[in-house]
């Protein structure tokens, strides 16, 4: 392997680690909290949601990057970014849903219920906007999106595991539900603070 390509691989791994651990989308950046709280009752559903998000996020990063650099920028329509991106994501989710339904019914059955929810997952719109604002190239943008999605999956599956156990515990009445889940997420966020500074540029 030549030095240039080895450097490239190291760079990709660093971007992935940074997105998964140091800048975890849920626990550090606060994006996508709605599904984080809503779909984290069972490990199984949390995993399904994580996979669906990974799939859509990678696709959305690809398509929005192309839209930004080949449609919005040349035409000077930068101010339509928010509008264009949310429409791209909404139609992409719809398209993925129809495509999976026809081509892979088993995958559709396991992801199907979560797909419509992803349109309003702000982590998807967030990662596409951050990719553009940070001036990432196409490859970096997709790697960053995959890393972000893996970080999402990691955090939501961890929280689901804890919540499954917590069902058995004796939580004070007023703390039940969202309240105790948020406090649990806070403790997880402290643990993830330990990753800060793991990667120095």
């Amino acid at each position: 392997m030549s030095i240039a390509s080895a450097n490239g691989v190291v760079k990709i791994i660093l971007i992935l680690l940074n997105a998964i651990l140091c800048n975890n989308v849920l626990l550090v950046q606060f994006q996508g909290i709605c599904p984080f709280m809503g779909v984290s009752r069972k490990v199984e559903t949390a995993t399904g949601m994580g996979l669906a998000v990974t799939f859509v996020m990678a696709l959305a990063a690809l398509v929005t990057w192309l839209v930004q650099h080949f449609i919005l920028d040349p035409l000077g329509f930068g101010y339509l970014q928010t509008l264009a991106f949310i429409l791209v994501i909404a139609s992409l989710v719809q398209f993925v849903e129809m495509f999976l339904q026809k081509s892979s019914p088993t995958l559709y059955q396991s992801l199907g219920v979560y797909l419509p929810l992803i349109t309003t997952n702000c982590a998807v719109l967030g990662v596409t906007i951050i990719n553009i604002n940070s001036g990432y190239g196409l490859g970096t943008a997709i790697v960053n999106a995959v890393g972000t999605a893996l970080g999402f999956t990691l955090a939501i599956v961890l929280l689901a595991g804890i919540r499954e156990r917590m069902e058995l515990g004796n939580t004070p009445k007023h703390l039940r539900g969202f309240s105790i889940s948020l406090i649990t997420a806070g403790l997880m966020a402290i643990a993830f603070l330990g990753f800060t500074g793991l990667i120095t540029k």
């Binding site: 606060f30 004070p172 703390l175 969202f178 309240s179 806070g186 403790l187 966020a189």
Partner: protein, 204 residues
Amino acid sequence: MHGIIAENPTFRLVLGTCPTLATTISLINGFSMGIATMFVLVGSNVVISLLKNFIPEKVRIPAYIVVIATFVSIVQMVMQAFFLDLYNALGVFIPLIVVNCIILARAEAFAGKPENNVLASAVDGLGMGIGFTIALSLMGAFREIVGSGTLLGSPILGEGFAANAFKLFATPAGGFFTFGLFLALFNLVFDKIDSKRKARKEGV
């Protein structure tokens, strides 16, 4: 106007959690996020209420999103032009108002319903917006005082406290804790009110 307390979007309905956690590091950030969201809520509620007879049932969600995104772009441009510091502080969360579930929820549950006219929809958006702003300001004030020892930038608990503030509450983890504790507090208060009401009814 029951969006302010009884159906407070943040503490009672638990909608729009992302900006609630992310922008409440200080009172001014939380408050301006609340105001920005309120503007979008009122604007989109009014427009959707006006257009509801022309929007076909099947494409209503994409149509709502386009209306909401338009208002968000307006907010984004106005803030960039006149409040650049705030624009930079709130960052990606301004465009993310588009996917704030409160706005789509009110469009779907209130403004898009045939029985609600334009004025009622505007008032509904205003009530929800005020409720959201109050919630964010409360959390912002709490986190700023405890986490940085300041309020609106001035050290109200003395310089000594500001220097040794409980910094955890300024971090993301502190956001989760604050929100969780506020939720529990509201549950407690509403439970007390409910049981008092019940007791009074039984007494009569």
